[in-house]
């Protein structure tokens, strides 16, 4: 198994240790706003375990994916909504 994977977050390539979650990759790029709330506040991950839904982003075109429960795959296209 390769030791790193590279995903693309809002057009920025970021290399992570294999097995990393998408949420960690997003934060590594310096982005902290994963989405906007109902009233437009910036939001990022809270629970880290798939329950709060604050970390949801668009992954390979699929909206509302929980980035903290999605493992990075090479070439994955991640878009935040923040």
């Amino acid at each position: 198994m390769p030791e790193t994977v590279t995903v693309v977050v809002n057009g920025i390539s970021v290399t992570m240790p294999a097995g990393s979650m998408v949420s960690a990759a997003i934060l590594k790029t310096g982005i902290t706003a994963f989405r906007r709330s109902a009233t437009g506040e910036p939001r990022g991950p809270l629970c880290g375990m798939g329950r709060c839904f604050e970390c949801r982003v668009t992954i390979d075109g699929e909206a509302h994916c929980r980035s903290c429960q999605t493992v990075c795959r090479d070439g994955m296209d991640v878009r935040t909504d923040g």
Partner: protein, 411 residues
């Protein structure tokens, strides 16, 4: 069809699965996360951090168990049949015996600024770091309540974080009493103490506000009548734990005071449905393991073997009681939210709007509190503490799912 279907691959679920498989049952374990281990052993399947974790992973590998990861159970179609959503589609899970080992999550309490990015749960930040977030050189305030704060602070420090302080809301007096009853846990406490040398541990201290514009820049702390500000990159803040009971509720298992009710063999009010670990009440790793073992043995009809573990469970339950008394939340925390502080993060419902209502049902109808994607999983623990409201019922699907999954469940 599984002889025993276990929901949750944390310590309780793994212990139940191991005991049931060892007794000859066909066992399937289903978990929402990408790998087994639950929260406490997250990411440790390949590299266990303790001898105990290693031992349990070896046990699990020594028996024949079907493990399905990345699957979240969202509905029951008929008694004995559950549906789970996986990245590949919906899978149907049928069983003779069910073990609900759904664990717990952190209790989050609202205070001004708690919705800012980089304010996270204590376990939340730890999970992120375990799954690839670089934390080296970052300034972290760890706050809230419970033994998890110490474990998280030690872990983050080990990964190079600058842990500025640990703010524990429980008073020194309560903690001292706890220490007194801690005999069996001394070695664990000592090893943490060594890892945390030089980190300030402030009892009777809590965060009253988080500051920042687009993300967290600092926090205000309160202790003994004094307020002060600290600049930081992350706030890791959780107020002990809350059992995850929505699946048990969906299956009509009796839940009281937020805990799944079980008999001496860990069976719920529904026949052949067992529950073990934090879902039945917060008690920590050792209690989860022994409850899991008892549930697995009972599901396999090995009641004598199960009974032999009762004394261990009794001892751990005493410890759990002490733990929960020690970290009981102080009343002052109810004063933290301002009228404009958001309580329900999914629907952006403020404390001021919720305060106008007399029950969660009324608040839901008028404000949509708890009706967003998390379905009250985050604000539920907060409104319970702030207003004494508890969710009255759960409805399927218990998690947001794809339309295809809903169609499948209606077929």
């Amino acid at each position: 069809m599984a002889d025993a279907l276990v929901i949750g691959a944390g310590p309780a679920g793994l212990a139940a699965a191991y005991r049931a498989a060892q007794a000859g049952l066909r066992v399937t374990v289903v978990d929402d996360n990408p790998a087994a281990g639950g929260q406490i052993w997250r990411g440790e399947l390949q590299k266990p951090s303790s001898r105990e974790a290693q031992g349990w992973f070896e046990k699990i590998r020594s028996v024949d168990i079907k493990l399905i990861n990345g699957a979240r159970v969202f509905q029951q179609t008929a008694p004995g049949t559950l549906l789970a959503e996986t990245p590949e589609g919906v899978c149907e899970l049928s069983y003779r015996n069910l073990v609900l080992a759904t664990g717990a999550c952190e209790r989050f309490l609202p205070f001004p600024g708690w919705t800012l990015p980089n304010v996270m749960g204590a376990g939340g930040l730890q999970a992120l770091v375990k799954t690839g977030l670089p934390i080296e050189g970052k300034r972290v305030v760890v706050a809230g309540s419970g033994p998890l704060l110490l474990a998280v602070a030690a872990y983050l420090r080990g990964r190079g974080a600058e842990v500025l302080l640990i703010a524990e809301q429980a008073s020194q007096l309560r903690l001292a009493k706890f220490g007194f009853g801690l005999v069996g846990k001394m070695s664990q406490a000592f090893s943490l103490k060594r890892q945390l040398r030089g980190v300030r541990y402030l009892s009777g201290c809590w965060v009253t506000a988080a500051h920042g514009t687009d993300k967290l820049e600092g926090v205000t702390l309160f202790r003994s009548g004094k307020r002060w500000q600290v600049s930081c990159d992350y706030l890791a803040c959780g107020f002990h734990l809350v059992p995850n009971v929505e699946l048990a509720e969906l299956l009509s298992c009796v839940v009281e005071n937020g805990c799944v009710q079980v008999d001496q063999y860990q069976q719920t009010s529904v026949e052949n449905v067992y529950s073990a670990g934090e879902a039945t009440g917060i008690g920590g790793l050792e209690l989860s393991l022994v409850e899991g073992e008892i549930a697995g043995l009972a599901a396999a009809g090995k009641h004598d073997d199960a009974r032999s573990l009762f004394p261990v469970r009794e001892q751990q339950r005493k410890f759990a009681k002490l733990l929960n008394n020690t970290f009981a939340l102080r009343d002052e925390l109810r004063q933290l939210p301002e009228p404009e502080t958001i309580v329900c993060r999914c629907e952006d419902v403020t404390f001021g709007r919720l305060r106008e209502h007399s029950s969660w049902r009324a608040a839901k109808l008028q404000t949509r509190c708890g009706m967003g994607p998390c379905q009250g999983r985050v604000c539920g623990g907060a409104v319970e503490f702030l207003f004494g409201w508890r969710a009255e019922s759960v409805r399927p699907p218990i998690l947001p799912v794809r339309v295809e999954s809903l169609i499948r469940s209606a077929e």
